[in-house]
């Protein structure tokens, strides 16, 4: 199995399902009933795991029904991967229960801390990227992967503060983290763009640092503008420059010989009709196909 391929599905203890390559949708509560009733043709769905960590009841019945009809992935916001509080065993148990129940292809969370001293901020908070923090985060990612019995996908985040003592860029940190832990990468293209706008990040350098064969999933979302800087708001269509960057990322993946990577449309606030999300997904598919064709012609 080629390195690129082994990350297309979870190496799970449970019966994780493989994902098709087309663009999926981040499914939120407001669309679940419609999706279950109409079963629209969507290649796969991502559940925000934290919204489904119920102990019983209709929420889990919905997860069961969704898993019967769609390949699923789970996206988390509460593992606190870069935190310094102990990992929360109850949270990980509940995520693992949901993973097994949903036959999720994989589970992802963010490169950030979310809690300190037992206080949870429900926000993706930054930390310094150094060799020492790398050792710390890598150890925690390893423990999470052991608990889940499968590689985790770790996502780059939008940031509004940077620690001056960072010796690595976020991309370099993620590359080294994946090398040390065998975790996959969830590359959020909107976050890459937001950080370029807010901090002047060098996108060429970021793509040069990231190992394309580790990229397991791509995220696309809309940003908001505030006084000359950008906010990762997930409340608008994907912006034109993010689409352009997405095409560049797809060409970068294709040039590296990486097969089609599943892409997800995320929209969490002011959520539109399902048709709007599906149109965004179709656009992502078209761009991915074009990038693949162009790269194939060049190579």
């Amino acid at each position: 199995m080629a390195p690129a391929d082994r990350f297309r599905h979870g190496v799970a203890a449970g019966p994780a399902r493989q994902l098709p390559a087309g663009a999926g949708i981040g499914l939120r509560h407001c669309h679940i009933d419609a999706v279950l009733l109409e079963r629209p043709s969507i290649p796969w769905l991502e559940l925000l795991a934290d919204n489904h960590l119920a102990d019983g009841g209709a929420t889990l019945v919905q997860v069961d029904a969704l898993a019967r009809h769609y390949p699923l992935t789970l996206h988390c916001v509460g593992m606190n991967l870069a935190g310094t509080d102990p990992l929360d065993p109850d949270y990980l148990r509940r995520v693992d229960d949901l993973r097994r129940r949903s036959a999720a292809a994989w589970v992802s969370d963010h490169l950030c801390f979310t809690a300190i001293d037992g206080r949870h901020y429900h926000e993706l908070l930054p930390f310094p990227y150094t060799e020492s923090t790398l050792c710390h985060v890598a150890a925690r990612v390893q423990r999470v992967q052991e608990r889940l019995g499968m590689p985790l996908a770790v996502e780059n985040v939008s940031s509004y503060l940077r620690f001056r003592e960072s010796a690595l860029t976020e991309a370099e940190f993620l590359a080294e983290l994946s090398a040390r832990t065998d975790c996959g990468l969830l590359l959020d293209v909107n976050n890459l763009y937001v950080n370029q706008a807010n901090h002047g990040d060098d996108l060429d350098a970021a793509l040069a640092a990231l190992p394309p064969w580790r990229v397991q999933e791509l995220h696309l979302a809309g940003f908001a503008q505030r006084d000359g800087w950008l906010l990762d708001a997930h409340a608008a269509p994907v912006a034109a420059p993010v689409w352009a960057l997405y095409e560049r990322v797809q060409r970068w993946l294709a040039a590296a010989g990486v097969g089609a990577v599943p892409t997800l449309i995320e929209w969490d606030n002011d959520i539109p009709e399902l048709g709007t999300l599906r149109a965004e997904a179709a656009r992502a598919d078209a761009i991915a196909a074009r990038a693949s064709a162009v790269t194939a012609a060049v190579l």
Partner: protein, 282 residues
């Protein structure tokens, strides 16, 4: 009482063991997000972070502060739609913001934060500095919030195993029924109020006339989940007392000794309020 971070300890030098320095930096940023940093500590944070095009580190921290508070306040909006209707969006938003500022979230599960709202409302009503018109006009608000929280909790509560009719029959046959302790369903919440909160709650949910608080002598309510849906039932004083005694872990023999009509138990089992039993310690 508002709980705040203590003033963070000095940040160890960069060469210190990583978790210690990382932890100190995280405490510093968290305290800035909580808006509880003294000026000299804010200055210390500004020395170690940059805000990029946002300008000052304080501007970057404000983004996180605003986003974190909005996420927590939104969780209260989701759990307490009727309280929001009663108060109006503006007043509810103000109370929710005050609640999340006063009550730190102690779990990745935002529902646990939502549980802080009813006691916060109760304290707020008793606080002489709180908004007097709201406090005096809506004495039922904390109980209404408790009802909404129970309704929300019932939706997500763990499933119960089916009633073990054979096991119960066997216990009856061997004359051991009196030693059994009955168990309420995991979605069941018993809620007593001196206000007619059920009618207030129902009128708002059904968008009926809510201009007058209905008259009544208080409610005894059972919230539970039936057929995957949360349900709220008004029950009699006797039925409520029986359920509360069962919840306290009394045996069937003790229920009989206290004069409860145990013939009600069959209906409570059928309704899914009583879901199991175990042998009581003698």
């Amino acid at each position: 009482m508002v709980s705040r971070h203590d003033v963070p300890e000095p940040v160890p030098a960069a060469s210190t063991t990583p978790p210690a320095r990382l932890r100190a930096l995280q405490r510093l940023l968290a305290a800035e997000i909580d808006d509880s940093l003294p000026a000299h500590a804010s200055a210390a944070l500004a020395m170690v972070v940059s805000g990029g095009r946002l300008g000052s580190p304080a501007a970057g921290a404000a983004v996180y502060r605003d986003s974190s508070r909005r996420a927590r306040a939104r969780a209260l909006e989701l759990v307490y739609p009727v309280c929001r209707q009663v108060l109006g969006a503006g007043a509810f938003g103000g109370l929710a913001a005050a609640c999340v500022a006063a009550c730190p979230s102690r779990s990745p599960d935002l529902t646990e934060l939502a549980a802080a709202f009813p006691p916060y409302l109760a304290r707020w009503r008793l606080d002489p500095a709180s908004s007097e018109p709201l406090g005096s006009d809506l004495p039922y608000l904390p109980d209404l919030a408790r009802l909404e929280l129970a309704f929300h909790a019932a939706l997500f509560a763990a499933d119960d195993l089916p009633w073990d009719a054979d096991g119960f029959a066997a216990a009856v046959e061997r004359g051991a029924a009196g030693q059994l302790r009955l168990r309420l369903g995991r979605s069941v919440t018993l809620l007593a109020s001196q206000f007619p909160v059920y009618e207030i709650w129902r009128r708002h949910r059904e968008a009926r006339d809510t201009t007058q608080v209905p008259a009544g002598h208080g409610d005894r309510l059972v919230v539970c989940r039936q057929a995957l849906r949360p349900r709220v039932q008004r029950v009699t004083r006797d039925a409520f007392a029986l359920l509360r005694t069962i919840a306290d872990g009394q045996s069937i023999a003790a229920l009989t000794e206290r004069g409860y009509a145990v013939e009600q138990l069959g209906g409570l089992i059928t309704d899914g309020l009583i879901v199991g039993f175990e042998v009581a310690d003698r």
